[in-house]
């Protein structure tokens, strides 16, 4: 776990939930950052506009997946990680239900001690991903980046509080 939803900037608080069929063979975990690639949901990478964060994995008919998706996995083996098959885009069409709201606040892990780079622990500095579940501490900048920083999480002082800044849906 590296991103954790901790609240919302929206007084009504509701997430904005939308579905994205998972790209073939992608292994996604709850709370992972998701980007869109050729119409499908793939793991977020640095510098690419964010689609959202995974809330759940669902079958195409809207019910939760029962297995981890890995070949031969047993019923009941799903515990938050799903491995999409090689034909997911066209056959199984398992989706990642994502919260695409820019108002959702996350407590996020950073890849180095927070505050090492000027601004990574401060309000108003933006920061990029280093991979789908971790922020790149050294990318903190007052310029544009994927996430807007609110400073250190008071409940976990190793992590940063952020919300999506560069959204593929809502733009900057």
């Amino acid at each position: 776990m590296a991103f954790k939803q901790i609240g919302s900037l929206n007084p009504h608080g509701a997430p904005v939930m939308r579905r994205a069929i998972i790209t073939d063979e992608v292994v996604s975990v709850l709370q992972d950052s998701i980007k869109l690639v050729s119409g499908f949901g793939s793991l977020g990478t640095g510098g690419v506009a964010v689609f959202g964060h995974v809330i759940s994995h669902e079958r195409a008919d809207g019910v939760g997946v029962e297995t981890s998706g890995a070949a031969g996995s047993q019923s009941g083996s799903y515990i938050g990680t799903y491995t999409a098959s090689a034909t997911n885009e066209t056959v199984e069409k398992v989706v990642a239900v994502c919260d695409i709201s820019k108002s959702t606040l996350y407590s996020a892990e950073v890849d180095a001690a927070i505050g090492t780079t000027t601004g990574s622990n401060l309000l108003g500095y933006n920061i990029d991903l280093i991979d789908e579940d971790t922020l790149d501490e050294s990318s903190a900048t007052t310029g544009t980046a994927q996430y807007f920083g609110w400073g250190v999480d008071s409940n976990n002082t190793a992590q940063a509080v952020v919300n999506i800044h560069e959204s593929v849906v809502f733009g900057l």
Partner: protein, 322 residues
């Protein structure tokens, strides 16, 4: 947000047939901080506390001289503000309608447990944060006695001009044990007011610490003989001389210390858990999405009004001066 996919196997007709769901939430630690803090209720946005010295004693004077005059002093003022605490969960309508195991998944029950747990955990941070002046301790804001030094300090200042500093902490961080408990007990008894007047002990001391010290605490308070010698010396701390309280919230694994130990006089140690607003459980339905939001919120403060009637050691044999 929790939807049906969050609980696939607990949704009626989907996935495995689950025989039982055990609820870890019901097993959360709830010791009851009333054992180590005084629980009160408050009003307003903030409360301020201060103290005063007395006039000491009577002083001799010679025939024909004026009666000696003295002055009383106000102690440091501690400003207590209440903090907001809350938690919530959002659940889709389909999830609520389709799921089995409603009792285990009851959101209100889990939020109620969380509210009780948070009060217990936050209150114990007065001890974990007692060797520093940092107000935020393990996620909770504490208010310490406003004399500018830690609650457990070797140099508590006095408001009385010319008065001496006092200590209620071990400068060598002595470990818990028979002789060191006596050191602590004597130090506790000999604490003084800001103008240097001895205090009455009045009350049974209570030893407080992490579960890692639980065995030693019981040995020192329940053994007939001194557990640290083979000379059949009697144990003067047995027979209900002192109480014991341990809490997992004081453990090193939970942001505390497995060596630190405290001796307090409950009630007279002026450590408080004060409720401004008891936990309120609410729920509401979003008109468009039909998502249901469950919340709990409360306001309270944990604070220390004075450093007296308590004594502590970090217990790790390091030098401590703060």
């Amino acid at each position: 947000m929790e939807n049906r996919s969050s609980w696939t196997d607990l949704i009626a007709g989907v996935g495995l047939q689950i025989a039982e769901v055990f609820d870890l939430g019901q097993e959360e630690y709830m010791p009851g901080i009333g054992n180590v803090l005084t629980s009160t209720t408050g009003t307003g946005a903030e409360r301020n506390f201060t103290g005063k010295t007395g006039l000491g004693e009577l002083y001799e004077f010679e025939e024909g001289d004026d009666i000696p005059l003295r002055k009383r002093y106000k102690t440091y003022t501690t400003k207590v503000t209440y903090n907001n605490f809350g938690n919530g969960v959002q659940v889709t309508k389909n999830n609520i309608m389709d799921r089995d195991f409603d009792a285990q998944l009851d959101e209100m029950k889990d939020l109620s447990v969380a509210a009780n747990f948070a009060q217990d955990k936050s209150g114990l941070q007065l001890f974990n944060g007692g060797f520093a002046t940092t107000q935020k301790v393990n996620g909770y804001t504490m208010t310490f006695y406003n004399d500018g030094v830690p609650t457990f300090s070797t140099v508590h200042p006095t408001v009385v001009p010319g008065g001496s500093t006092q200590s209620n902490a071990s400068s060598t961080s002595i470990a818990f044990g028979h002789d060191n408990l006596e050191t602590a007990h004597v130090a506790l008894i000999e604490q003084q007011t800001d103008d240097g007047i001895p205090l009455a002990l009045m009350g049974k001391p209570r030893i407080v610490g992490a579960p890692a010290l639980g065995r030693e605490f019981r040995e020192e308070t329940e053994s007939t003989l001194d557990p640290e010698t083979a000379e059949n010396a009697i144990n003067v701390f047995t027979g209900g001389v002192m109480d014991v309280a341990t809490s997992t919230h004081l453990a090193a694994a939970n942001g505390g210390s497995d060596t630190a130990w405290f001796v307090i006089i409950p009630g007279r140690d002026k450590q408080y858990h004060e409720m401004r607003q008891a936990p309120v459980l609410e729920s509401d339905v979003d008109i468009l999405s039909k998502n249901v939001t469950f919340t709990v919120d409360a306001r309270w403060a944990n604070y220390v009004k004075d450093w007296r009637r308590k004594w502590a050691s970090k217990g790790d044999a390091t030098a401590y001066s703060s």
